[in-house]
Amino acid sequence: MATTDEATPLQALLALYGALDQAVIHSRNAGIEATVERYLPGSTGPNAGWYDELLGFLTDGTNRVSRRAEEPPAAPDLSDALTILQNQQGLQGAPPPLTAVQLSRMVYAIGALSHLPGDYLPRGWESQFSRTLAIASPRRRQEPGQQTAPLSGPPTSADDLLTRLQNQFRSRDDFPQVMAFAGQQGWVDSLVATVPLCDTKAMLVRGHLCVVLTTEFESSQVSLDELKNVIDPLNWAKCLPFFCAMDKEPNRGDGWSRVLEHVSTTCPIPNTPQMVTPLKYWKGQGTNQPSPQPSAWVDYALDDDPAPGEKGDGRMVVDEGFIRMTSTVGNSAQDGVRVRTRKVAGFRNLAFFPAALFACVMGWGDAGLGMLLGGVASRAKNPTGWTDWDTSTFTGASGSTQPGQPPDSGDPSRRAVALAVDMLNECIDDMSKTSAALAAQWATGAVPVAETMSFTADLAARLATDPLRYLERLRDQTQGGGK
């Protein structure tokens, strides 16, 4: 059954980026394609059409965990998306406002859109863009529950920001400077101005093509202790609108904690599709060895041993990373903290580009940054119901499987070395057989992408490490054994 609700601000935010993709598809214009490629590298050419693929993924029928499941609101077009974003704050009962990270992504998208020809933009687009940019200004960006009367027109600062974006935002690399200037001028909130660009990489992890997002950020306004006391994943749904719920599950036998993560672009609308993922996480702390700076971290990964009844939807094949927090002043109680995060995400049935864009725009890979920018202030205003920091303790019970060990060292004779080389040759033969099987599949028109990626990863790993491994064995002999 289709819901009658209006699309959410997160859907609207995604639609801004979708409008760039649709301009590429519908225009068939090389100039427009080149423009979009400048702002969203890798989104055009064979990857054009990524927005529809992402929408299909998000509304996939297999992602229904309830019999009462409803269709989410239809994705808005650009004009509706701008209206939704303009009205997303200040109304009682409205969805939670966008975070600083999401507002930064919104400004980026509008800046990119402002470089498209007018034919591909809604009527009165300049005014619409300015009104939307205004929600990132210090005056409009307020905490949830505070009412703000709709503006009769965009403030001058929003017009100035739009002009700046049109004149100075010529490519992705220009964005930090434009935002820094906008922050100095008071056109955008200072937190929004400092959000770093999202950098993604592709990486094969255990045979899966994954998006890797690494973020580094520093704040002089927050202490390590304050951040530690909001960083537990159980708190994320309290102030990050992309996280619908973080359900606590019983701890694992090895001392890691469990949480069942629910994320969606339509969290406020009941029974609409969510991605549900069982995670385990570990909270550690110490000094930032060998330097004496106090440091703490949260590591998380897919839970390979979920609690009874803790059921995910299997759409994430890899979901792991860390949030590392380090005091910059040598005292965890004093303001000054640096956050470094990494998220490695592999999606079932979603190509790299839409997966990367989704993770970036929603701020999924930046939960640590989001909690730093919004979580600490949110807890200060409403301190009830938060999960405090509590360092995890290893119990020695069943834990992770052991995926690899250093190889045995020491080959005592020439015969052993020759044998090692023979073994590597056998490995090449095996690889050749695998590659021949792959070639046969290619020849029949099948497209064994996953198998091919796994094959190349295995081969690359051997190419990189085997010669040095043999040398290491020989060197150990000369030094009388192992390390």
Binding site: A202, M203, L204, V205, L209, G255, W282, G284, Q289, P290, W297, D299, A301, E320, G321, F322, R340, R342, K343, V344, F352, F394, G399, S400, Q402, G404, Q405, P406, P407, R414, V417, A420, V421, L424, I428, M431, S432, S435, A436, L438, A439, T452, M453, T456, A457, A460, A461, L463, A464, T465, D466, P467, L468, R469, Y470, L471, E472, L474, T478, K483
Partner: protein, 172 residues
């Protein structure tokens, strides 16, 4: 049209050539070990030869890899840790190596194979005090790892190697 079978055969041939050359170098080193002439200098030379060989082979193989239809164009396989800072040495360069394997915090059985650990830079110049750690291990689970790094002083003139070891916590 690309014939994937021919491409892959060519690829396998390139790999086999690499293995033969690497094997030749390793056997040569083995002979030197038996002769008692495989000292640190010879070891370093062999390592350089192998590194050059791997680089050359990689460049040769790369275009073939890229020709596999629909295969990803490139991957940055190495993600660097945050910087690690140690006290500087104002006299010698220092070679970095693993002194104690890197183990994930909270999962003692999860050990990164030593041979997949990479230090950037591999050698700290005089006065340098920062380096980063990465791993090429394809089974890595991203997270926080504890290990110990050995900093061996080079060209000290001493007969016995001089080194320091530091415990480190790295995010990988």
């Amino acid at each position: 049209m690309i014939d994937p079978g021919a491409r892959i055969t060519q690829y396998a041939e390139s790999m086999r050539s690499l293995v033969s050359q690497a094997g030749s170098l390793v056997l040569q080193a083995n002979d030197q070990i038996h002769d008692g002439t495989f000292d640190h200098a010879q070891c370093a030379k062999s390592a350089q030869q192998l590194a050059n060989l791997a680089l050359t082979a990689g460049l040769e193989v790369a275009p073939l890899m890229m020709s596999i239809p629909c295969g990803p164009a490139s991957f940055d396989q190495l993600e660097l840790s945050d910087f690690i800072e140690v006290a500087p040495d104002n006299q010698c360069e220092r070679l970095l190596s693993v002194a104690k394997s890197f183990v994930q915090d909270g999962a003692p059985s999860y050990v990164i194979p030593d041979q997949t650990i990479v230090f950037v830079p591999g050698t700290l110049r005089i006065y340098a005090k920062r380096f980063r750690v990465a791993t090429s291990w394809p089974d890595l689970q991203s997270g926080t790892y504890r290990g110990r790094v050995r900093l061996t002083r080079l060209d000290t003139g001493a007969t016995a190697p001089q080194f320091d070891e530091v415990d480190v916590i790295v995010d990988l």
